[in-house]
Amino acid sequence: MIEFLRAVKGRAYPRVIGALREPSWMLWDTFLPLLSLSAYVFVYRSLHAPREFEGFVILGGIMTAYWLNVLWGMASQFYWEKETGNLQYYIMAPASLESILAGMALGGMFGTTTRAIGILLLGTWLFKVDMSVTNPYLLLLIFVICLAAMYAMGMMFSSLFLLWGREAWVTSSLFEEPIYFLSGQNFPVKALGPYLSMAASIIPLTLGLDAMRQLIFPSSIKFALMDPYLELIFLSILTIVYLFLAKVFLRKMENIGKTKGTILTRWL
């Protein structure tokens, strides 16, 4: 267990240091998303939509920062690690690949949280978003479980992206826009209709956003997909399922890599 935690700490370190040592990234990663959020806010204002919709946009922007980190910092990461030659050393080391991925996830969460806080503070200040949290403990729990499910999904994708092909950035891009739509990043997901919104619930971001909106903007309950407690249960199930699948696909990736010799090293 100590060895597992050491590996987690070791792999989280470059991401934590990256966030602190390169503050310019933080500026751009906070400022640029705010521009696109502003567009949605102004659209809602011009349509005289309910005020809480502006809050939806800010919350969506925060959670999207995590989703982008899951895609580009988790799902695509093994591909980049292969290109730089790190992947072979991760596999050769006694530490499990799960511990390496857990380190990436924790480090990624740290870096993204600094950006998310920036978006939250600037967004609420700029657009005078009124938040009234009804149950802070449940909100925190849902936020943490939602992150756990999202990063578990990223762990699962990390092996799959490597198995699917060499153009990880194309695969990542493919998962960007559809998820914005299906998760209801800037609108209540209920608007997609019962079948599509239920199907979209396999994306942790969908359930997490829906639950957090209800807890931060109580007047938005009428737009909610389901009860936050139920969403917490589903998110917990998704976390377990994605972690299990991540483990299965990691073994599969390693096995295919060792058998075919085409995955683990960039020159084969």
Partner: protein, 318 residues
């Protein structure tokens, strides 16, 4: 028990152009404490063999053991006791310092922080890179980076270390520091074992207790450097630089010429000929002049491992 044992090992790869046999019936037994060299040209199968031994690749047929453990089924027992360095590798993260990178890799082997710190300082002193410990990796030169890579591998105090062309593309001084370090490291403990792959024959000659020559996936000779050179003990090498470039295929017809190798150089050719008759040197010189070329350099040399390779395969190492 051997440090490394390979029995009837085959490895094939399916490519668009068909099946490539990277290793063909390889057999090896490397004793504990040995510095064993694998000498062969690019594409001979050296790296494939290392990948199998480091548990990164499965053999198509045959068995491989490290410290008595099967590389196919007991990789969890092998991984804590091995490590590897490749030439020209770019592992690690550019925004971290050398010290931070080394510490990070030590964590994947469960090494406590204080022990890791002590070992990093020790290796930096031994490999002469103390001055760059706090430098970001992205700002390192090729030689500095390779010293860090070597430290990364030795940091875990492995029982068996795989050095895959560790001095590839390095300047003479850095390569010498690395070679000296490897020799000293081996002397510190009787059981430490090194498998070195290289296509630099002088490196193999200088470092290795025994050398296997590999070509097109097969081990074609295996012995000490001195014994291997006995394969060409009745011959000598004639090294010439001629210009301009001319076709010298006629050279084979001269009595006593066994094999020859040419390498293009600016405005000319470097020719290495394995010969068994000193009297034939004059015929070679005459022939070159008759074909309209000039000789700017001529030297008779003692046979080297490259000559052994040339005699066995008819081709050069590079």
């Amino acid at each position: 028990m051997y440090a490394i044992e390979v029995r009837n090992l085959w490895r094939t790869f399916k490519t668009r152009d068909g099946v490539v046999e990277a290793l063909r019936d390889v057999n090896l037994k490397i004793k504990k404490g040995e510095l064993f060299g694998l000498l062969g040209p690019n594409g001979a199968g050296k790296t494939t063999l290392i990948r199998i031994l480091t548990t990164l690749l499965l053999p198509t047929k045959g068995e491989a053991y490290v410290w008595g453990y099967s590389t196919a089924t007991e990789e969890r027992k092998i991984r804590p006791i091995i490590n590897m360095v490749s030439g020209g590798e770019y592992s690690g993260y550019g925004l971290l310092t050398v010290k931070e990178n080394l510490w990070m890799f030590s964590q994947f082997y469960g090494i406590p922080g204080k022990v890791a710190k002590r070992r990093i300082e020790y290796l930096a002193r031994r490999l002469k890179f103390e001055d760059i410990l706090n430098k970001k990796v992205r700002n390192l030169s090729t030689g500095q980076r390779q010293k860090m890579n070597v430290a990364r591998a030795f940091l875990t105090d492995p029982k068996v270390i795989f050095l895959d062309e560790p001095t590839l593309g390095l300047d003479v001084e850095v390569a010498r520091v690395i070679r000296d370090f490897v020799k000293e490291w081996l002397l510190e403990n009787d059981e430490r074992t090194v498998l070195l792959t290289t296509h630099y024959m002088h490196e193999a000659e200088e470092l290795c207790d025994r050398i296997a020559i590999i070509n097109e996936g097969r081990i074609i000779a295996l012995d000490t450097s001195d014994n291997l050179k006995k394969l060409v003990s009745r011959e000598f090498s004639l090294v010439l630089r001629i210009h301009p470039k001319i076709n010298i295929s006629w050279i084979n017809k001269i009595e006593g010429v066994q094999k020859y190798l040419t390498r293009e150089e600016e405005n000319g050719l470097r020719v290495r000929i394995i010969m068994s008759r000193e009297e034939s040197i004059a015929d070679v010189v005459d022939g070159i002049i008759k074909h309209g070329a000039k000789i700017s350099y001529l030297k008779k040399e003692e046979p080297t491992l490259e000559d052994v390779f040339l005699k066995l395969t008819g081709r050069g190492l590079e």
